[in-house]
């Protein structure tokens, strides 16, 4: 984005105030926008928006389907690049990072939890959890140990050798959570983490996410459920590609 464009973008005082009070920011979106081209039509998935996520924050993002929540999550997770604006993550300007550096950032800084768990079907729970450590170049023995510890921390020490199809939905999501946590991420991005779970299993997963937040991990959670959103410290609303405080 050009300097002129930055100037033209009016900052949202609510969404950037956290960064102004001197607290350490982990992720800062400054006028970030994302547009897609669908045939001849240009779709504005994210309108220019500002957001400051401080270290240790627990944020929930709510909004109807198609409002841009997932696009926001992809941008925050360095899976997608903004078409305008500036995104600073852990002090790095994401736009300046190469593809290889972005992969390293995803590996070291960000943990992902998806609604449909997204585990490798042919691998055991432990091998699933080992996955990010594999790309971090961690030795095999240490991978196994850390994966075991992560599974233990989510209450699945007895399910380490089980494959996803041998586990319940709640257990699978806990494996996915263990996979996100095993690399000790600074930012945990959860996309509808309880969307496919019954209330009991969902509650268990939410407690684990809250535990992580209390332990200092920054969490941004996307949800449709106001009760789930209420567990976060702050809830943001997403509508038509724009972000506002609830």
């Amino acid at each position: 984005m050009t300097a002129d464009a930055n100037k033209a973008h009016p900052h949202d005082p609510f969404l950037v105030e956290g960064c102004a009070d001197g607290a350490e920011a982990l992720a800062v979106l400054d006028g970030v926008a994302r547009t897609y081209r669908s045939g001849a039509v240009e779709v504005e998935a994210l309108k220019p928006l500002d957001l400051c996520v401080r270290r240790g924050d627990f944020l929930a993002v709510m909004g109807p389907s198609g409002s841009g929540k997932s696009t926001l999550l992809h941008v925050l997770g360095c899976l997608d690049r903004p078409t305008a604006g500036r995104y600073l993550l852990d002090g790095h300007d994401v736009a300046r990072l190469s593809d290889r550096e972005l992969a390293a950032v995803r590996n070291a800084v960000i943990g992902f939890v998806f609604q449909r768990f997204h585990l490798l079907a042919d691998e055991s729970a432990r091998r699933n959890v080992e996955l990010p450590l594999l790309y971090a170049g961690v030795a095999r023995g240490e991978r196994r140990q850390r994966a075991s510890e992560a599974l233990d921390s989510v209450g699945l020490s007895a399910r380490m050798t089980h494959r996803p199809n041998q586990m319940s939905g709640g257990e699978q999501q806990r494996v996915a959570l263990a996979r996100a946590l095993v690399k000790r991420p600074r930012l945990l991005l959860a996309d509808e983490p309880t969307g496919n779970l019954d209330s009991k299993a969902g509650e268990r997963v939410l407690q684990l996410i809250e535990d992580q937040s209390r332990a200092g991990t920054t969490v941004l959670m996307i949800t449709h459920d106001p009760e789930v959103a209420a567990r976060a410290e702050q809830t943001l609303l997403m509508r038509d590609g724009g972000l506002s405080r609830a």
Binding site: D99, F114, Q115, R116, G137
Partner: protein
């Protein structure tokens, strides 16, 4: 190779083992391609190798000055007597040659127990003649200077080719021909000869040589020698008369070419094998004649090589398609791996490892299939066939190449996948 790369390779190998049906299909396609490759290589390269070996056996440093055995009607045979032999020696001064004049003519041969005599080529040669052939004596010994030429009163000595022994005594082992007696009539004189040695037949593909010869429309001097159905008698067995050829053994390739130039300068246009029909003397290097034969067989083997290359390419397309379908089924997995920190090259490496591994497994399965198939073909069409470990190595290399080629497009496709697009469509 760093730890991360090793881990990615291991992921690829594990994937192959965890999807046995998919891997088997790919491997089976590769197996067929490698089986065909082994088959054709064994046939074509094997034949080439053997012909090259035959060139050596026939005497790669040997040059011939010869009188064509078959002349056009009415064409007078050129004279090749002592004067030409002496002239040849003089021309080759300084090249360290061994000059061996040779007389050769067909003669009826009679042995005990057979009513009708066989006509065989009888070659009268000095002891040094064996050096122009570079072939071993299979049984007994070669002719010596003190061997008797044979006469109606005195039994002479002779050697014969293995094929001649089989023809004269079909029920016996060629080794048993040593010590046997035979009768021949040369220049109207009946002679009794005792066999003292049997020469091995160096040509593995005799029929191939003879087919080549027939294809040229005339029996050449070389093929006459190459028939290896001769009887060799001491030089003095024949009376005075023209030589049919002078064989010259030289120490090096360079000396052979130099000798050829010097002799051609004297016997003009004799380099051309077509000169046979014009009745002139010919000067030729056996190696060149054999190379002409090699070129002819190479054309045949090129067709074979085109077949296996085509089969490998078709297999590459098929495996590539299978791999591409597999990658499309694994969009979620690829996207997830990218989320968890996999770089594009990690994905490409894993897909390539999977492709190469399955192709290699197929190659290992295809090797024995191709080997057995070549044996079956050999039995059916009586085609020369030869299998060596290095052909297996070539086939293995082809399998790896096949895996690499067939992985290029799928690996590239997977590596360039945008995880956000996949996640946006499917993952939630």
């Amino acid at each position: 190779m760093n730890r991360r790369m090793r881990s990615v390779i291991r992921e690829g190998l594990l994937h192959v083992t965890r999807h046995p049906l998919r891997s088997s299909l790919t491997a089976f396609t590769s197996a067929i391609a490698i089986a065909v490759t082994v088959n054709v290589i064994s046939l074509s390269f094997g034949m080439q190798e053997d012909i090259a070996g035959d060139v050596d056996l026939f005497g790669r440093h040997t040059l011939d000055v010869g009188v064509p055995p078959a002349l056009a009607p009415g064409v007078k045979r050129p004279s090749l007597g002592e004067a030409q032999v002496e002239r040849t020696r003089r021309l080759l001064t300084g090249l360290d040659p061994i000059v061996v004049p040779r007389r050769q003519r067909a003669a009826p041969i009679r042995v005990d127990g057979i009513d009708e005599p066989y006509r065989l080529q009888v070659v009268a040669a000095a002891p040094a003649y064996l050096r122009t052939l570079s072939i071993p004596v299979a049984h007994g010994r070669w002719l010596r200077a003190d061997d008797a030429p044979g006469s109606p009163e005195l039994e002479g000595t002779c050697c014969l080719d293995e094929a001649s022994a089989v023809r004269l005594w079909p029920q016996r082992d060629p080794a048993e021909a040593v010590g046997a007696r035979l009768e021949m009539r040369i220049d109207g004189v009946a002679r009794t000869m005792r066999v003292v040695g049997v020469l091995s037949d160096p040509l593995r593909y005799r029929e191939l040589f003879e087919t080549f010869d027939e294809g040229r429309g005339a029996r050449t001097l070389t093929s006459s020698l190459l028939s290896f159905r001769n009887i060799y008698v001491p030089a003095a067995t024949f009376g005075p008369g023209d030589y049919t050829g002078i064989s010259i053994v030289l120490p090096t390739d360079e000396a052979v070419l130099e000798a050829q130039e010097r002799l051609i300068a004297v016997w003009a246009d004799a380099r051309d094998l077509a000169a046979l029909s014009r009745g002139s003397l010919i000067v030729f290097v056996r190696k060149q004649w054999m190379e002409a034969l090699g070129t002819s067989t190479m054309q045949g083997s090129m067709v074979g090589n085109l077949v296996w290359i085509l089969v490998v390419l078709v297999a590459a397309v098929m495996i590539s398609t299978l791999n591409l379908i597999t990658v499309r089924e694994r969009y979620d997995e690829v996207a997830l791996r990218r989320c968890e920190g996999a770089q594009r090259r990690d994905i490409a490496l894993q897909i390539t490892v999977e492709g190469v591994t399955t192709a290699l497994i197929g190659g290992i399965v295809g090797l024995p299939i191709g080997y057995v198939g070549a044996h079956v073909l050999r039995e059916i069409v009586q085609f020369p066939f030869r299998f060596e470990l290095r052909y297996a190595a070539v086939a293995t290399g082809v399998a790896i190449l096949l895996g690499l080629i067939s992985s290029v497009i799928p690996a590239r496709h997977a590596a360039t996948l945008q995880p956000a697009r996949v996640l946006g469509r499917r993952l939630r």
